[in-house]
Homo-oligomer: 448 residues x 2
């Protein structure tokens, strides 16, 4: 696994261009499903379609299921109608709902019409929940135990009805109207004697509502160490289950988003190598424009202080260093606070505490840097400018960490993604503020 | 769950200071285990110890298991010897090994001596694997099926031996010398008739070696959608299993690390609010010093071009905007490539392709920004300086994306964490290079 990097590269595009189906099959055959997925996500759309068609039928469905949803949609459009119907019918209802989300409405309707009535109903039910909700991600194919069984009869029930369920390891116990009364794991049933009532080994149910955000549901699964969590409606009636593999995918997806935004770009909708260069440009240009517009503030600040700059050109020497350091300090604080907010370590009510801690941290960092830098700066630029720089660093670092803590928390409170207003945003903000501080201190100290 | 933010804050510190054990118990009693963990990770060490002692015994062990490992270590030092022994004996061997890692060697030895011979052997076995390996994280308590059973006898075997196992959902089938011959899920056995040989429903085993990095093992679990993966030695003999809940924790931990480093700081060893302000300063100061040392390059560059600057002070106005934009462009590229490398979308052999794509992306971004900014810049600073700025933007953006792609990939190749050399590092590097480019272009265009 870890050694894949040193394998010979497969030249799928060359094989696909040559129409060499046997060669493609031979190249992909030794790989397991995740490895095939990996290769397909690294090539262009046409190669992907040709290579996919060369896969044996059983493997093809498994590969399709694991493919990035955006690529699933693209791929379907390259396949023949018949192959598409087979794939769509073979998917689990939750995966199918995820796929149909990616397709134009006309295609969705045509594909739905090819399903059995039962399959169609399950799929459209899922599509009725809000995007990115637990309901959209759950599987309705769950084994529910009727209340009042013994362990022996419950195990027999699971064995009879388990074939189609996505998981049988988490078993909700339901009473009248599918009201969830508790949850028992298959494991618990398995190590308990047959004649014990299920009610005696029931756990309090940890459940999520269908309209819960998928990320929140995923964190419930992770924090409770669950294999699956039942999904219920507003009256606590069982609708389906949200499984740990879905939870892991959701968390990875959210992490993709947070990481991209922390770096000042929009998340890519597809794996990196499957994204075109224009796709990369599109994901970044808007943020760059916003940031460059904000950066014009720095031009105005420098313009306003041009007299000061004219008199002491040496002040200009330290501008990039000062604002760079301020930006880095702000980015550190923003990244830390965004992350702490994302994982739930910090909530809005902690705002004063967090801002206070970060302000003190910034003050200490600024003071530390000033003390360490004082001697070298004096040697380069003389004691007066070194003093200006030292004072400015203390103030600017404190401002930067405070802004870095405050902004993402407030953003989250008003419903924005805190990652959006993080590092690059803070950096640009402190650039302008830092310059004002620097020149004001310079005027005061140098008596300009 | 999602509404926790609006709950009234629990004032655990006040209750703890007042020694109000009954109040603490009443405050914590309505919360489930993850919520208690959450509260305990938000308070100081003393409050945590007092509140922990107020928990009922059964809850206490479950809470302890889920607590951040660094806090587990701290907490043990606040508890009485007897309570500590109970907790340590109650943990699963893998959790215990993780905890003992956090403690001073003397404490570890004393705690180990309090265990039964069997428990002690399992724990020290785990401690023998390298830190952050799958072996260190696995549980040795696994139900292995002897080869040659029928489904019925296999189910009976699991039922007899499943009590102590951490999971019974993934069942390795072992031949002579515990050599892993295949894996079968409990679910598969459960929906198959009793008289079918297990060999007929066996899957090819997906396994990881004990010395595999824990992050790689966690990605195997996620990519294959597994509940657990068997861990084997170099001869494919079964040692234990690595479960999905461990995989989720490992991935979150790695994400913490990557995020912190992307923001230019070291990862915190504890949850945010449980980290002291000095801890925050420590996690950041070293990186700031490295970056500020690198930023002195910008001072040298400006110093070298001081004549140019003296002649055309207007050039100084655009310095922060130019290097800010270059830094942002570089940060975007670095963040995207670090992430693509981390999730395995991109490998070292893709280096030329990735660098090529990013160079073109940078060229397009720089050109786009120049075209959009040309008119406003001419109005502010005249056509000549606007031309300098436009040309510099194109070159600098291309340099920034290229460096942003190249550096993390090469860092990973030589065994460094790619996240370390990401955004702030790239930003600082392009600051200096960008200034050189800017002044060289200025000299050429303005004929200085």
């Amino acid at each position: 696994m870890a050694d894949r990097d040193t394998d010979l590269a497969l030249d799928l595009p060359a094989l696909a261009r040559g129409g060499d189906v046997r060669g493609l099959r031979a190249a992909l055959d030794p790989l397991d499903v995740p490895a095939v997925v990996d290769e397909l996500e690294r090539v262009d759309a046409l190669t992907r379609a040709v290579a996919f068609r060369a896969l044996p039928k059983g493997t093809a469905l498994a590969v399709f299921e694991d493919l990035d949803p955006a690529l699933q949609g693209e791929l379907l459009q390259e396949l023949r109608e018949e192959a598409v119907r087979d794939i769509v019918a073979g998917l689990d209802p939750d995966d199918r709902a995820g796929l149909l989300d990616e397709l134009p409405a006309g295609v969705t309707a045509r594909l739905l019409s090819g399903l059995t009535a039962d399959e169609r109903r399950m799929t459209t039910d899922l599509l009725g929940y809000p995007p990115e909700s637990a309901g959209r991600r759950m599987t309705p194919q769950v084994v529910a135990l009727p209340a009042g069984l013994t362990v022996g009869s419950a195990l027999a029930h699971v064995r009879r009805h388990g074939e189609d369920a996505e998981t049988i390891y988490t078993l909700p116990v339901v009473g009248a109207g599918r009201h969830v009364e508790g949850v028992v794991s298959l494991r618990r049933l398995f190590v308990t004697d047959d004649d014990v009532p299920v009610a005696d080994v029931l756990s309090d149910p940890v459940v999520v509502r269908a309209d819960t955000d998928q990320e929140v549901a995923a964190r419930v699964v992770r924090d409770h160490g669950l294999v699956a969590v039942p999904v219920v409606d507003a009256e606590d009636r069982l609708l389906g289950v949200f499984t740990v593999d879905d939870a892991m995918r959701v968390l990875e997806h959210e992490e993709d988003e947070d990481t991209a935004r922390a770096g000042g770009s929009e998340p890519l909708r597809k794996p990196y190598l499957a994204t075109s260069v224009l796709g990369l440009v599109r994901s970044r240009i808007l943020w760059l424009l916003v940031l460059i517009a904000a950066a014009t503030l720095t031009v105005s600040v420098l313009d306003a202080f041009e007299d000061t700059l004219d008199e002491v050109v040496a002040l200009a020497l330290f501008v990039p260093l000062l604002i760079g350091t301020a930006g880095n300090t702000g980015a550190q604080a923003a990244t830390t606070v965004v992350r702490a907010t994302a994982v739930g370590d910090v909530r809005f009510r902690d705002l004063p505490r967090v801002v206070g801690r970060e302000a003190v941290t910034g003050l200490l960092l600024g003071t530390g840097l000033s003390l360490i830098g004082a001697v070298p700066a004096s040697l380069v630029a003389g004691p007066e400018i070194a003093l200006v720089l030292a004072l400015a660093l203390v103030v600017v670092c404190t401002l930067a960490t405070t802004a870095g803590a405050f902004t993402p928390m407030v953003a989250k409170r008003v419903g924005l993604d805190p990652a959006v207003v993080s590092a690059p945003f803070i950096t640009t903000f402190v650039d302008a503020t830092g310059l004002v501080v620097y020149f004001l201190i310079a005027r005061a100290v140098l008596g300009l």
